[in-house]
């Protein structure tokens, strides 16, 4: 270790990963429905894609969680995005190739992808 910059670099690299263990109020939660219905409809590749995308972009303030059945099994896989202070956004009939768009437009830039939301799918 020859400089403080090196130490900071290591800290930055690892922090996103260990941050998960701190209790936090802020930060964006992305929740994937992973009950039997969700898994059967293909929630797992969606979850994996989300993780890859979040990790690729070093989004330290994003937590990917899973949850049980939300109740509308016919629209699975379902992903809900909770941004603090905003109403949650529910994406339905998700697939792995839709993930990148949601992460870039919604999570990073703050513009929900209306086309994929439950409101749109039902109309």
């Amino acid at each position: 270790m020859k400089s403080i910059a090196e130490l900071e670099a290591i800290k930055k690299k690892v922090l996103d990963n260990v941050n998960l263990r701190k209790e936090r109020e802020d930060g964006i939660r992305v929740v994937v429905g992973m009950a039997t219905c969700g898994i059967a409809a293909g929630a797992r590749p969606v979850m994996t894609a989300l993780l890859e995308e979040v990790s690729k972009r070093n989004l330290g303030n994003v937590v990917v969680e899973q949850t049980g059945c939300i109740g509308i099994c016919r629209l699975e896989p379902i992903v809900e995005v909770f941004v603090p202070g905003e109403e949650k956004v529910t994406y339905v009939k998700m697939s792995a190739d839709k993930v990148a768009k949601i992460v870039t437009e919604h999570i990073v830039n703050g513009n929900p992808v209306v086309d994929y939301t439950i409101g749109k799918a039902e109309n």
Binding site: M1, K2, S3, I4, L7, I10, K11, K13, V14, L15, D16, N17, V18, L20, R21, E23, V32, M34, A35, T36, I39, R44, M47, T48, L51, V54, S55, V63, V64, E65, Q66, T67, G68
Partner: protein, 597 residues
């Protein structure tokens, strides 16, 4: 580095390891692989969470679900339900964390609510075998600040102003100790760490080393910079294999990352640390004996002065601090003096870690601000005394300390209040006793320990403690007299005044403090020839109350000495000659017909 969506923290402290945590790790790995989750869920072996009574402990993040007493068979359920489907297995979650069917944060549980984790900040949070996780939680930042931005004197001033006092027992101001050593002029100086935790029932230093070894290494390097030393030694007992192993890993990693070794952070400062394993003698926790042992001699103390800061290891100026003291140093430098001095009382700053043991529900490790009362620790954090029994006393400071009786349960715990009531902080063992404990027997227990552990170099300790034990033994056998009580007191004071080192000077404390607060129990032993708690076998008789006995013969069948006889459906009797007073009959009797008198 791959991002995991969930972390499974499994306690790898000694307590949980002995209750089977190692097998859990293997089982989790197997189950995660079977469910294809190994890339999404990370298993982290951490240090102690503190709630050893509920081990093995497993915590799953981001939810923060606190699973307690997890068995190997439960792992599959946690993986398929919680990690796969997101349904927390409530059956296995620590019941205190469930309220109205939802999981509440661990910090709101009684056990953690009043705690403030400073020395234990990373225990149960990071993987102690991974230096990068320590760095992520501000590790080695204090060292960087100290050696690149501060002068050695500034470091010493910071520690002095923080009011940090030695956590090993004596409570000597740490900054002052460093200043003495820095003023001693010598080209070779040493920094030592006392990890020879010897009090029966104390395990906080062990837990810090197991859970956060780098915090000690970092602090020792800071100390080295402050006093002008380039070599450190950690003296640790070989009886702590997990701590030794993690320290070895930590030292190796710190060297690989250049955080120990030559020219740290590109400065002129170089520092190295070596491990020295002790064989587990209590006296080697005494600073001069410890250094004699590091030098390769038999661990015996020598008179002070000269103090180690002037003439220590190999005759060179040396500072010696305890593990917990060191664990506080990096936080003080990172968070500042002002932050630290806000915690605690006027003369005792910061927090103290206690190892809670004995008759208490939540056996484990707790860290509280100085000035917290014994009642808060025992009743609120510790969850009180089990089986509805009454709190009788708590022993602080192990064999060197004294007892705090129920009447003083509201005493704030800090260095000075404890000394004023005849006890001492010690390293922080806290043994809780209930009404079933005989105080004479407790004093005898601690004396047996000190007699065994006396190194024999000075006669007040070697002979005096032996004579003390003989008198106590005589009292517990029912042969004591009132004069013996006076003799005990006189002898205690002589040993305190005349012994060479801390071991002898404090060895009479358990006797003196029990005499002070429980003299009536001593008197009952010598005058009435009774042991009120029914512990001293020679003074206790087992009897069957004829009115209550149904004549079921359960006790007679259980008695290992065949001392109980009688006819079925008629009251049985115990033959006092044959009775070995093991108490098996009392546990067997469903009618409460057998009593100790």
């Amino acid at each position: 580095m791959d991002l995991y969506r969930s972390h499974v923290l499994i306690c790898g402290g000694t307590g949980c390891t002995s209750s089977g945590a190692e097998q859990l790790i293997g089982e989790f790995e197997a189950q995660l692989a079977a469910n294809g989750l190994e890339k999404e869920v990370k298993i982290v072996k951490t240090g102690c969470f503190g709630l050893c009574a509920l081990g093995p402990v497993v915590v799953v993040y981001p939810e923060g679900a606190f699973y307690s007493m997890v068995k190997k068979e439960d792992v599959a359920e946690i993986v398929t339900e919680h990690l796969l489907k997101g349904r927390i297995v409530k059956r296995l979650v620590y019941s205190e964390t469930i309220e109205d069917d939802s999981i509440k944060s661990l910090n709101e549980v009684d056990f953690y609510k009043k705690q403030q984790r400073v020395a234990l900040r990373n225990c149960g949070v990071i993987n102690p075998e991974n230096i990068e996780e320590y760095i992520a939680f501000d590790g080695y930042k204090a060292l960087a600040t100290a050696i690149t931005e501060m002068t050695p004197q500034e470091v010493i001033n910071t520690i002095k102003e923080s009011g940090l006092r030695g956590r090993g027992g004596g409570g000597f101001p740490t900054g002052l100790k460093w200043e003495f050593a820095s003023k001693s002029v010598n080209e070779q100086k040493y920094v030592c760490c006392n990890a020879d935790e010897g009090d029966p029932g104390a395990f906080m230093d062990r837990s810090i080393l197991e859970g956060d070894p780098h915090s000690v290494l970092e602090a020792m390097a800071i100390a080295g910079y402050a006093i002008g030393a380039n070599q450190g030694y950690i003296y640790i007992r070989a009886e702590y294999p997990i701590a030794v192993q993690r320290l070895e890993i930590a030292i190796k990693q710190a060297k690989e990352y250049g955080l120990l070794g030559e020219n740290i952070f590109g400065t002129d400062f170089s520092f190295d640390i070596g491990l020295r394993l002790g064989a587990g003698a209590f006296v080697c926790g005494e600073e001069t004996a410890l250094m004699t042992s590091i030098e390769g001699h038999r661990g015996e103390p020598r008179p002070r002065p000269p103090f180690p800061a002037v003439k220590g290891l190999w005759g060179k100026p040396t500072i010696l601090n305890n593990v917990e003291t060191y664990a506080n140093i990096p936080v003080i430098i990172n968070n500042g003096v002002e932050w630290f001095t806000k915690i605690g009382t006027e003369k005792s700053k910061g927090t103290k870690v206690f190892a809670l043991g004995g008759k208490i529900n939540n056996t484990g490790l707790v860290e509280v601000p100085m000035g917290t009362t014994m009642r808060e620790i025992v009743e609120e954090i510790g969850g009180g005394v089990p089986n509805g029994k009454k709190f009788k006393a708590a022993q602080t400071g192990g064999p060197s300390g004294g007892c705090i009786p129920a009447s003083l349960i509201d005493t704030p715990i800090d260095y000075d209040s404890l000394i004023s009531i005849g006890s001492m902080m010690g390293s922080g063992g806290l043994i809780v006793m209930d009404e079933d404990n005989c105080m004479v027997d407790i004093a005898k227990f601690f004396l047996e320990f000190t007699v065994d552990e006396s190194c024999g170099k000075c006669s007040p300790c070697r002979i005096g403690t032996k004579r003390l034990l003989e008198i106590l033994d005589k009292i517990t056998k029912g042969n004591g007299t009132l004069e013996d009580l006076d003799r005990l007191e006189l002898l205690c004071n002589n040993i305190k005044n005349a012994s060479l080192c801390g071991l002898g000077q404090t060895a009479p404390n358990p006797v003196l403090s029990t005499l002070r607060y429980f003299r009536d129990e001593y008197v009952a032993h010598v005058v009435d020839k009774k042991c009120p708690a029914g512990v001293c076998k020679s003074l206790t008789n087992f009897e069957i109350i004829a009115d209550k006995c149904k004549g079921c013969s359960a006790c007679a069948r259980k008695c290992p000495a065949n001392a109980i006889t009688g006819e079925i459906k008629k009251p049985f009797v115990i033959d006092k000659e044959k009775c070995i007073k093991c108490g098996a009959c009392i546990e067997t009797c469903k009618f409460g017909a057998i009593v100790k008198r």
